[in-house]
Subunit: 245 residues, 2 copies
């Protein structure tokens, strides 16, 4: 349209991305604070001299990323600051250690297959009787203990797990590559090492440990429950968050 800024920034290449980034920038710098009403689609389309669908695509993506909220008839608004959230990536331990450039070691401590007792069912969150596999193992990096794992697998939900050989491959890696999941829940807490943990991790009794408990489901059906214990002062979980790439 006529104005000098028509050239705009070619930093994006495509129009809708330019629009999206322009709006994102205004939100992130605080120029448009939370609650602020963003111009209507027809205003933006006039401003950039494009069609409504193009504006709509930019705004839809921002809405999908939870940066803005759209209300029919009312308009589009900058969302109140979300909870400070972060994507916590908890990779397969073998891959994690490999990524650190250290030698991965794995040791199966015990394995059992049994009909689920009350404690197993409670832990997995299943009501009906089922068979489970119970596995304990240890991961190490450069021959230094890295984490202890205590896992239950619902063999009715994951029958293939009965055939898998966990003497060589850790169950976490096997499951991640063979079993699709739809929901996962992590709980992170801190404990002090008791005698068994101290011995397993080669640390002092009373040393702090980080505990991650993870439950995984597929379509509401429990698959596995795992408890990982890390030496707390040596291990850190790091999560980084960027406001939509």
């Amino acid at each position: 349209m006529s104005l000098a800024d028509d050239s705009a920034k070619p930093g994006a290449g495509t129009l809708y991305k330019t629009i999206r980034q322009d709006i994102e920038r205004r939100i992130l710098t605080g120029e448009w604070p939370p609650g602020h009403r963003i111009p209507f689609e027809h205003e933006i389309m006039a401003r950039y001299g494009c069609s409504r669908m193009t504006v709509n695509k930019a705004l839809s993506e921002l809405a999908q990323a939870d940066l803005i909220e759209r209300r029919r008839r009312a308009g589009t608004f900058v969302r109140r600051p979300q909870f400070l959230s972060a994507v916590l990536k908890i990779p397969d331990i073998r891959a994690e250690i490999g990524a650190l450039g250290r030698a991965y070691g794995y040791e199966l401590i015990s394995t059992a297959r049994r009909a689920a007792n009350a404690a197993d069912r409670e832990r997995l969150g299943v009501k009906k009787p089922c068979k489970v596999a119970a596995i304990r193992c240890r991961h190490s990096a450069d021959n230094v203990p890295f984490a202890l794992e205590d896992r239950l697998i619902d063999l009715d939900a994951v029958p293939d797990a009965a055939k898998a050989n966990f003497k060589i491959d850790p169950p976490g890696s096997w499951l991640l590559h063979h079993v699709p999941w739809t929901e996962a829940e992590h709980a992170i807490s801190a404990i002090v090492a008791d005698e068994a943990i101290a011995e397993g991790l080669d640390i002092a009794v009373g040393a702090p440990c980080l505990v991650i408990e993870r439950h995984t489901w597929r379509q509401g059906q429990p698959l596995t429950a795992v408890r990982l214990v890390y030496p707390g002062e040596q291990h850190r979980l790091v999560a980084r968050f960027r406001g939509s790439e």
Copy 2:
């Protein structure tokens, strides 16, 4: 129309959502495993009797959610299993306690304003001299200590913080509502309580504690660094992940 399955599932309401969910279901159940090529857009549009733009909208959203990968000329493919990742929501502590239905208490322990010393600059990650605010405070729930907070704020980046009154409102809440941020990094670890922490949290020396260290930036500029210490056996961080709603 014509085919029996045209009725499909009205569970979505709109066509593109139906398409999106149909594909999502096939991926999540493993019917279309990682690496599998999804039908071409023209095939899907024939299958549902709709226009290409509608199919494209469904696929674009799945691509934005990282469930599929699209390659020109080659087609659309189911992505390999991502890292087991979870969105860890770390809310403002006041809101967190309020959500638990408990009474929030806040106590300012100490506050200082000074030119940043070497340790401050190291911790914030700034190189140039600047002024900082250093705040220590305690959060409690139902009069039971909940967390200790030790925070640095870069006053050059957040000049308004100099005027804020942290005697009544916790700095985390104030920052969350007044300062837009673009990047955050969390590190989670476990420690045992030393004497100062034990006294502050009213727990025993040697008890396990969960530590969250958070750094926040705006456009690469450090804003604040905070260290939160929680009683480790009472507090759990919970993160739940669903495969795109």
